[in-house]
Structures are given as C-alpha cells and as structure tokens.
Assembly symmetry: C2
Homo-oligomer: 327 residues x 2
C-alpha cells in the first residue's frame, strides 16, 4: 500500500510517500481501506516529536473514514463492507491514517453516519470525542449560558452544536468577522471577538457582570487566563490545552473547577478505547438526526499532498477541519 | 460586650481588646453568645489585608460555638437556649467571632453536636465545610485510594476521617514522625513524609506506579506541582489553595481535573449560605455517630490572648485546630 512515512521528526517535508506492506489485522482489529483522513493539530506536534507519537519510522494520522475489508480474531462488531469512522491511529503502538489501509482496534470505530460522505465523516472523530468528553465534564444545565473559546475551530464548532442540542445559550468567542458569521450559522446565540473585545466588557454584556458559569476553552494555553477572568464564582472550565504556566489566583478567588480533556490518552491508555467507539455511535445518531454536522475547510488534498494539508492547518487560515482524500 | 477590634491591617498586635455595643439581630439573624471560637489560616490573611475581609474597624473571626440568646424576625430554625455552631463571620458584611456576641445569619448555623464541648465544636465549621465540599467534588468510589496532603492539618484531619467513612483507602502525606502517628490514629491506612519521600517513590509504593486517581491537597500553592506529579491519568485533585503560578503540563498530559474549594465564597455569595448550615447538620450527625472528631491543639487562649492564638497557628507548630475560649 501507499503511505506517508516519517523517518525523523521535523517539518512537513519529513513525510515521505512510500510503498509499504499492507498490514494484517490481529485479534480485536479490523483492516480498513481508508477513503479519507483528517488533520488535527496534535498530528503536527507528533510529527515534530511529541513523546506520545509512535516509534519511527511511522505512519502518522489519527482520524479516518473508510470501509472494513477484513476482520481479525474475535471481532463481532464489524464485517467486511461496513463503512466506519474513528480516531484509530497516530500515537504510540497504533498505525496511522495517512495511508491506504490501517489495522484498527475495533473498539475505536463506529458505523459511519449514513448521511455523510467519507470526507465529512473523517472530519469528526478526534474533535467530536474531545467535544463530547468535555461536555460530559461541563454537565451543562438546560438554559445555562456557556462561553466557547474558538467557536469555529475543529473542536469548537462541534462544542457549539452539542451545547445548543443540550439546550444551552451559547456565546462563541472567535477571531474574525467571517468566523462570527460562521459561528452564528452553527447555532451560536451571540458572538464576541477575542482580539478586540475586553473580557470585562463581554462578561458585563452577556452575564450582567457575574461571569460565565460554564466555559469550554478550545484554545487553552495562554488563553486560560482569560477563561479564569471570564468565569463566574464556582464556575466550571473545560480546556483541551493546558500546556502552560499560569497564575491560578482567579481559580482560587472564584473556587473554580478546571477539567483538561485529552482524548488521545484514552487510546494510549487502553481502558478508554471502548468509550471512544460508544461516543462515536452517539455522535452518528446526532448527525443522522440533523443536530450535528462537521465543518470542512474547502481545500482538497491527496495522500501525496497531505504534508500541504498539515501546513494549511498550521497556518491558521483553515476554517473547521482539513481533510485528505485518500481513495 | 468585649471584642477584639482591628483598626488597621497588619500583625497580631493590631487586634485591640475593646468594649463595643452588643449587636441586635436583624431579620434572618440570631444573636449568639460565643463560648469558643477557632482560628483559621484565612483569619490571619484577612487581618493582613486580604480583600474579602470586612470594612475597618472590624471584629475578625469566622468559627464559633455558643448559645442563641435572641432571634431576629422570621427565624424559625433556632430559639433562645439552643447550642449552635457555625462559620458565621470574619468576612465582608458579617460580624466576627473574636467577641462575646455575634449576630449570625441563621442559615450558617446548625445545632451543635451533642457529644462535643464548645471548644471542640468551635474547631469544626470552616474546616469541616471545606472538607465536605471538597469530598463532594472528589466523589470517591468505595475502595478507591486517596492521597491527602496535610493529613493532620485543620482541613486535612477531617478529610482523612470523611474519606475513611466513605470506604476509601487513605494515604496521608505529613511533615513529621509525630504527625504520622496522629494520621494513623485518625484512620489513615498509610503515611508518607512530604519532606523526605520522593513523589515517584510513594507513587510506586502505593499505586504500583500508576498514580493516585484522587488527591485532596490541603496545602496547595507550590505543593500543587507535587499533586499533579502524583496523579494518575484522568485523576481528580481538590485543593484549598491555588494562589500560585504553576506549570499545568502534567494536568494536560494526564487529562486531570482540578477543583478549588473556597468555602468563604459561599458566605460572601449568599446563595451558598443555606448549604453551609445543611452540611453542618450532616457533620453533626457523623460526629454523634462516632465517625468524626475534631483534632484540637492543646494550647488554651482567651479573648485577650487570641492574638497569641493566631501567632501559634501561624508558627506552624500547632497540631489540628487552635481554639480560643471566650465564655
């Protein structure tokens, strides 16, 4: 099969198109012919050397949509011909999805939503599982107002839709007028600009100065300080990125809770794998019910140009998910 | 009545014994004759100028045990002669307990445990409510192992007992051999010394290297880095002190949750007051059932020597709670 191989960590030029043996599924695995893969920010960090990555040489890539072609011993949940999607590769001990085939742990897959193309389905798994697990931590009350930082990003655009489906009032923080329009199309009730709007201003405007009782911060890092500032007393914050040194004084003064969601840990730590497949089944049901749709960047890439897809995502110019068409 | 008055923020010498008018209970308040008060670390910070403190001149002190002598309009939960305990003062908008009387919001009080002296009861409220709210956040599973940093401190000694009552296995982190003996008497299954034991060592010894799924960090601050290091993947950490700048990389890599408990916020924010009285009723039931007892420092102080009581707590030489006998 054809695949992009990484022999050494570094830039996107380190991804080399090559021919390798098609793998054979072991016990609990299925062989999937990949039709589309999507790029996530963590793929780029792993390419650069993040320690959770696979031993080199390796095939990178986490998200896929494709068709089962063979099942390994003990697999009863899928049969050849099933269209599936999942976040099934790209980290230590697993294969990668920037390839024509992958042997995937069957627990990480679910039947693909019937009303999506392979491109659309491949955009969902990592981001949707992350959003879902974060929503479980937030435990929004119906009618509660939630602030979503990065409301049109890979995770954020799903959070906005899940929060609306849960009956919340959603304020999306975005970085441009174009993103503001998009956030409203996704269902956001109102929008703030995190470049030009002061936290104190939008806290006053949207919460009467009390602060947000629930915040989903998909930017994280240095932005966490803004989330602490925007939070109400006893507020809950979920983030997907806490790789930062930050002052927690506001967490103290407001008695806040901070939850970090890092879904790849549930793949590395095998105890989390069955939960991932189960979440994707629930995500598929919401997609089929018209409550959730992936947001795709319009650019098209192939396996050969997947390094450009990573650069496109890394540039910050992409909107929603960047997808690679493989078959 | 006699009271210690603070005219300006600063050291314990700023607490001046004075005669002031005995207050009259307003609607929803009761007048309590204070028999004992206890000192908490936050009292010292408030004396030094922490912004949550009352406007000066003020009477400081949060915890009390005493007897109701008069009830204000609308109070049905108490009558004159009732022995009560509570954390009812010391912050903005409220009276203080380093005095012979206080008018207390009745929601903040509960009937005193029948098997305790006033001294013992006064030791409990702030620490017990803090421990209780933290345990609610931790949501320990029966049989789960919990690491308690500061296992013989004001909050920690209650956490150890609540965790045992919840069926958990308790590892107490303490700072001396004497404290280790005490922690075992309180019910700790095992003890580590946070000065001499490396985190990696006790994680290996008590969790097989996986880390603790639940940690109650009553030290907090710079110690939070140790809690992050000691945590298992997906672990939950509760702390009573996050006034610190800290690297959250370990929170990210392990997908941790961090909850800050700051019970005084529930007094400042009136919405939390009824919950405090309710928790103290449940605490009293546990005390009366023999599942929980306060740990009192053996030193005795009076209203006139209460500044020395604050110094004694501040010195770090006290064990458990420092109490002031008032009547």
């Amino acid at each position: 099969m054809r695949a992009l191989l990484l022999y050494e960590h570094g830039g996107s030029d380190k991804l080399i198109l090559a021919k390798v043996a098609t793998p054979t599924p072991g016990a609990g695995e299925v062989l999937v012919e990949i039709h589309a893969a999507s790029i996530n920010p963590v793929d780029i960090k792993i390419r650069e050397g993040l320690p959770i990555g696979p031993a080199l040489p390796a095939i990178l890539g986490a998200d896929l949509a494709g068709v089962v072609v063979m099942t390994g011993e003990g697999v009863k949940s899928f049969k050849p011909g099933d269209a599936v999607y999942g976040c099934a590769g790209g980290v230590k001990g697993l294969g990668g999805t920037l390839a024509e085939f992958i042997t995937a742990d069957a627990r990480l897959l679910a039947p693909m939503p019937a009303n999506l193309t392979f491109r659309e389905a491949a955009a969902l798994p990592l981001a949707a599982i992350t959003a879902w697990q974060g929503m479980e931590k937030l435990a929004l009350r119906s009618g509660e107002t939630v602030l979503v930082h990065g409301g049109t990003g890979g995770v954020g655009h799903i959070v906005v839709q899940l929060a609306k489906a849960a009956g919340a009032r959603v304020i999306a923080a975005v970085g441009s007028d174009e993103a503001a329009v998009l956030a409203r199309e996704l269902g956001a009730d109102d929008v703030v600009n995190y470049h030009s709007d002061a936290v104190s201003d939008y806290v006053a405007r949207h919460t009467g100065g009390i602060g947000f009782s629930a915040i989903f911060d998909t930017a994280g890092g240095a932005n966490l300080a803004k989330s602490f500032e925007a939070a109400a007393p006893f507020g809950r914050i979920v983030t997907t990125n806490s790789r930062v040194t930050v002052n927690l004084g506001n967490m103290h003064g407001k008695a806040l809770s901070l939850h970090v969601v890092f879904m790849l840990l549930g793949m590395l730590n095998e105890s989390g794998r069955a939960a991932h497949g189960e979440i994707l089944r629930q995500v598929a049901a919401m997609v089929e019910a018209g409550q959730l749709k992936p947001l795709l960047d319009p650019a098209h890439f192939t396996l050969a140009t997947a390094p450009d897809a990573q650069e496109h995502l890394h540039s910050g110019d992409a909107r929603g998910k960047v997808v690679v068409d493989i078959a």
